[in-house]
């Protein structure tokens, strides 16, 4: 398998992507750093937020989309910061208009400003409305396998359970739940939230996730561009390891890697 030949694309809503790493664009020092990190990550899909324009600000101030043009990247508008289904739906309608009819979106409805844990009830409600309106919904959710299944049944194009809380960098706290979600899902499963460092991303991919979405792990690294490149390699390595199929774990094997025959004779013997 040679991933660079794209024999193993990530397919979302029928469209193939070479990269299995999706990157958020928040919390960077400036747009130049955002772009440098996105380029180093190899990501093709980048999330953006939709916010009120700052009326009265210098109209010549650069905009994010000048640094990440929609012609080059698949922009994934996301509803982070929304606490109700209604706000999330309105935000994505605005996003679709803003991005000229682009209908691939990330739905995220939060339930609590401290933990940023998702409100799955409102997430399910918003997903129903958005799917009915023709949106292709990639949905952030908890790692509850039943909710994940219901989101798939509603018609979401990808289900994105948390590995741990948003921005926590705690890594993958419940690989067993993720495993159940991956096993049952017929749509792509992407870990979204909780990745802290490269090994977390690799573990997610080794579990069989189809991709990983992250923001803080890159943006809050001391060197975000270097971390973006580390994440690219981790996702590729984890994917390759998953496809290769790891050896089973054993407490001990009694089977060394070198031949047991043909040893030189022990000192003192003939």
């Amino acid at each position: 398998m040679k991933p660079h030949e794209n024999l193993d694309p990530l397919v979302i809503a029928g469209k193939p992507y070479r990269s299995r790493l999706l990157i958020g664009t928040g919390k960077y020092k400036d747009f130049a750093e955002t772009r440098a990190a996105v380029e180093a990550s190899g990501a093709e899909i980048v999330t953006v937020a939709i916010r009120r324009t700052n009326i009265g600000q210098d109209p010549k101030q650069p905009s994010l989309l000048e640094f990440l043009p929609p012609s080059k990247y698949t922009l994934l508008p996301n509803t982070a910061g929304c606490y109700t289904a209604d706000d999330a739906v309105r935000t994505l309608r605005l996003a679709r208009e803003l991005l000229d009819g682009h209908d691939l979106v990330k739905l995220e409805v939060l339930g609590d400003p401290k933990s940023l844990y998702p409100n799955v009830v409102d997430t399910l409600g918003a997903a129903k409305t958005l799917v009915a309106e023709g949106f292709k919904v990639m949905v952030y959710t908890s790692d509850d396998p039943i909710v994940a299944r219901q989101l798939e049944e509603i018609g979401c194009v990808a289900v994105m359970p948390l590995a741990s809380l948003i921005g926590s960098g705690m890594g993958i706290l419940n690989p067993w739940n993720l495993g159940i979600i991956i096993e049952q899902a017929k749509i792509p499963v992407l870990v979204d939230a909780g990745v802290g460092t490269a090994s977390d991303a690799a573990i997610a991919m080794e579990l069989g996730c189809d991709g990983v979405l992250m923001n803080t792990a890159v943006a809050a690294a001391k060197n975000p561009v270097l971390m973006a490149s580390a994440m690219k390699m981790a996702v590729e390595a984890g994917r390759a390891a998953f496809l290769a199929g790891r050896m089973p774990k054993k407490l001990y094997s009694g089977a060394p890697s070198s031949p047991t025959s043909g040893m030189i004779s022990p000192a003192g013997s003939k």
């Binding site: 953006v48 916010r51 009326i55 994010l64 989309l65 991005l99 979405l213």
Partner: protein
Amino acid sequence: MISVTINGERRQLDQPLNCAELLARLELSGKRVALERNGEIVPRSRFAAERLAEGDRLEIVVAVGGG
């Protein structure tokens, strides 16, 4: 004179502008923005046709960095 709310701020307009005229006045002409009026999307193609009315609630949004 009409009064409208734009992004949560109350503003007085000396005449009932249409959406395109409002965006021009806010120096947002030609910028990539989306507009919601009283909870409903106003498509770009209708900016010139939709005239604001007393009490309108408008949301004008852009894409910004986010996860």
